[in-house]
């Protein structure tokens, strides 16, 4: 049985377009704005097997959060079908709740003024976890996610990274078979992100938890997930393994050099100059032709470097590239192990 399965899941919202705020007050009072149907998710069909770690990505407004809400049962679809852990989410929300754990990066599920331990205790009671099992599980999770140092501090006093680790522990307190994470690393610094990714990666490998993650950070996707589902304008664009995404769409990196030389220059095969400014050179590197390390080493050799940065392409560019069909080796096979290109 699939952990998560959707068939032509669709959600549209009926909204009214408001009059501009600087429009005449009387017009705004007397005229009712026309209603339109906003299609947030359209015919979404996917299948995720138990223990899979899947990234669910797309630009802002693509329909990710709406899809996630339908899968957790807190939004009823307009049409279509879904099953999560064998339950229809919006019909069996209570039963489903015991099988899923949810982390919203931008919203806390812990009790703000209470110590973390009290929140976890309460969650254990809400999910009817046996007291002995709860104690053992909490000890294991506290150790695994390294939150012991601040377990007795109020949630309000924690940094964002600390809070997010506690949120994940809270979501795992009832040992769910499926973990849903909505932007879990948003706002975190580089070190905190790395720490959280390591924990999530380890969790899934050790306990076989199915992970569905939404994120704008390609680092999250690369580190935690093995498969990526791309959604845009409410529709499924692509469903393919990470290795293939990297190969086909993340092959280019941007390297920015700040130099002592006023007109810096660097000629290497596979490297193109994107922008040349006084004391600054921006390069686009095709990592399938030349590895990043070699570019950096060559730059250090030939130029006097004051500052250097290496960036992945923004996710929107990756999506645009997918839209334009810019793949090195498009495949026709379907299914979770292969690539589905629509």
């Amino acid at each position: 049985m699939a952990a998560i399965r959707t068939d032509n899941l669709t959600k549209s919202f009926r909204v009214r377009q408001p009059e501009p705020a600087d429009g005449a007050l009387l017009r705004r009072l007397l005229r009712r704005a026309p209603a339109i149907d906003l299609l947030a998710v359209q015919d979404l069909s996917l299948q995720i097997e138990p223990s899979e770690r899947v990234a669910f990505i797309g630009p802002n407004g693509a329909g990710k959060s709406t899809s996630l809400k339908m899968l957790t049962g807190i939004l009823v679809p307009t049409s279509g079908h879904a099953e999560v852990a064998g339950f229809v989410p919006w019909r069996d929300r209570g039963k489903l709740a015991r099988h899923i754990g949810i982390v919203f990066g931008q919203r806390s599920q812990l009790w703000w003024q209470l110590p973390v331990r009290a929140s976890l205790d309460l969650l254990g009671q809400i999910y009817d976890v046996d007291r002995t099992v709860l104690r053992q599980r909490m000890a294991r999770l506290i150790d695994g996610f390294e939150i012991g140092a601040f377990i007795d501090r109020p949630v309000a006093q924690l940094s964002l990274g600390q809070r997010l680790r506690c949120e994940i522990v809270g979501a795992l307190i009832h040992a769910p078979s499926i973990l849903l994470l909505d932007e879990p690393t948003i706002g975190l610094d580089v070190t905190s992100k790395a720490l959280l990714r390591d924990h999530l990666d380890g969790l899934s490998r050790d306990s076989g938890t199915t992970v569905l993650l939404t994120s704008h950070d390609t680092g999250d996707i690369e580190r935690i997930c093995e498969r990526v589902i791309v959604i845009d304008h409410g529709s499924l664009l692509m469903d393919l393994p990470i290795a293939q995404l990297k190969r086909d769409f993340l092959r280019r990196r941007t390297v920015t050099l700040v130099t002592a030389q006023e007109t810096p220059e660097l000629r290497i095969d596979g490297v193109a100059a994107v922008a040349v400014e006084p004391y600054r050179l921006t390069l686009s590197v095709d990592t399938t032709v030349v590895p990043i390390e070699k570019v950096v080493a060559t730059a250090l050799e030939r130029l006097t470097i004051r500052d250097l940065s290496v960036e992945n392409p923004p996710l929107e560019d990756v999506i645009k590239a997918i839209y334009r069909g810019e793949t090195a080796d498009p495949r026709a096979s379907k299914g979770p192990a292969g690539a589905t290109q629509l």
């Binding site: 809400k69 003024q113 809400i126």
Partner: protein
Amino acid sequence: MQLSSNSSALRAFARIGWRRAAAEPLATAARGGLNVLALGIFWAFWRATPLAELRRPELTPERLIWYLAVTEWIVFSTGIPYREIEDDIRSGALATNLTRPIDYARACCAQWCGGIAFRLPIFALVGFVAALGLSGTVPIDPAMLLAGLASVLLALAILHLCHLMIGLATIWTGSAAPLHWIWQKGLFVLGGLIIPLSLYPAPFRRFAENSPFAAMLSAPASLALDPSPGHAIAVLRLQLIWLIVLAGMAWLTDRAAIARFLERGT
């Protein structure tokens, strides 16, 4: 939908409510001060009022201040719990709560019970000491204390059911505050916060006495004016009827509100 009927979870929510109420000692003290101030103002008010014009011996400043002490005890022990639901809806925290295997309304009510358990004895002490200090008398029949307490608890239950419905109304209105203002003034006027309903003009009095607002304030407080067993039984009967009616209304409101939220996502 199978939800947790785990009483330990509800008890845990009640403990949370108690802790939250206890976490604001200065605000509680200020509210206690407000209670005493109100009693002081109305002590002066009733003493300046020519009560003799009424020719009703039970309506003395002493009994009227005890009447007010009971209504204020109920009002101050309640606070404004609808705002917690309003905040949950507006912040999106309701969605988080709905993903848990425990009924949201029941969890809220459990938390409120915890808050009441903290505030009730404190405001009883503050209000009754102030009323005793101002009036120099205690018009309460000790034999009726249990009935009085039961009546106050019923009043609090009815009040909180109203707050539950007002808070859930945020799903339709976006802000429950205006609804609360009107409901609160209705409570103060039809519930006889300051002036007992027996002083109201006849048709208006009958309407007020049969409204749920009377069950929340005037009915329990009237035991300070008429502590007879017959009157106590009538008061408790009225409150039980309204408790059942409003519980039904709250259940329907909860179902409709959650269904709308699940449909629209906001």
